[in-house]
């Protein structure tokens, strides 16, 4: 596939902390980590999804003015950014593994309409749902 969404970015409060979380705890890999002065283009990738990069960006000047950057940091910390969904084969196993690594879960695995889902946040406040792929869909 050569067309489609390539990068979607998240705002994070600290990029080192974000790498520790997404790589160290969720098992993503760093795809690009390029610094240019204070600016750092940082993307990570799910090991099973080579066509997609998740950007971990700092809301910062000069891309954003200082006041806007502050507002974005507040919005992220309030958990007001849009929903994120991570698909997994086994939600309960992933939950146990991630919890042992210190991931902050907001919801334990729950069975809903035959699918299991759990909820967690990254250190910045971005909220994820972790959903077990339904068997009939492969």
């Amino acid at each position: 596939m050569s067309q489609g969404v390539g990068v979607v970015g998240l705002y994070v409060r600290d990029q080192d902390e974000a790498v520790q979380f997404y790589v160290g705890k969720l098992g993503f890999r760093v795809h690009t980590d390029a610094r240019n002065g204070d600016y750092r283009w940082l993307t990570v990738q799910h090991p099973e999804q080579p066509s997609f990069q998740l950007g971990l960006f700092l809301p910062q000047p000069p891309v954003l003015d200082a006041a806007t950057a502050q507002t974005v940091r507040e919005i992220v910390a309030k958990g007001a950014m849009p929903p994120l969904v991570l698909m997994v084969d086994d939600c309960r196993a992933a939950y146990a593994r991630m919890r042992a690594l210190g991931v902050e879960f907001t919801q334990e695995p729950v069975d809903r309409y035959g699918a299991v889902d759990a909820g967690f946040r990254d250190p910045s406040g971005n909220g994820w749902k972790m959903i077990e792929a339904q068997r009939e869909q492969g």
Binding site: Q70, K78, R112, G119
Partner: protein, 159 residues
């Protein structure tokens, strides 16, 4: 009004804890402890951050959950009342009606009569979309609906 993101992140943790166990009692003392701030600071900052006082936020989550249980299960209403954190079916029914404008029984009957196709939207987001908006206190809402009686007594809204 700007708030410290680090404080907001800790307030969010308290909000998450209410989300995760809205049937439990969440006195300000308990919430403040989760956020690591004083009780007075917590109540003020929470409202500033999330637009409603913490107890009212809790109420909207309970009603949201009760609504989902009424719609998606056949649990008796008494059981739904207890499961969502009320001490009596009476208080539950009254608060539910005050907030949503209809009785739990009526909502269940109406929802069961309507076909649903929820599979494409994760359940929790779908549920949040139906969360009641509670921009004024339930006691204030009651007063307004009662035709603005002169009774100014402050009714506590936490059941």
């Amino acid at each position: 009004m700007s708030q410290d993101p680090e404080l907001l992140r800790r307030l969010l943790r308290a909000k998450d804890r209410m989300d995760g166990a809205s049937h439990e009692a969440w006195p300000v003392m308990r919430l403040a402890r989760v956020s690591g701030v004083s009780q007075a600071h917590f109540a003020r900052s929470f409202k500033e951050a999330f637009g409603v006082p913490p107890h009212r936020y809790l109420l909207t989550r309970r009603i949201e959950r009760a609504t989902a249980l009424l719609r998606d299960t056949d649990l008796p209403i008494t059981e739904i009342a207890f499961e969502t954190g009320w001490n009596s079916q009476g208080t539950f029914g009254r608060t539910f009606r005050d907030i949503t404008g209809e009785n739990p029984q009526a909502l269940r009957a109406r929802e069961k009569a309507t076909p649903h196709e929820p599979e494409l939207v994760p359940g929790c987001y779908l549920s949040a979309a139906h969360r009641p908006s509670l921009t004024i206190a339930v006691s204030e809402k009651r007063r307004q609906e009662a035709g603005a009686t002169k009774d100014g007594s402050e009714e506590t809204e936490v059941p």
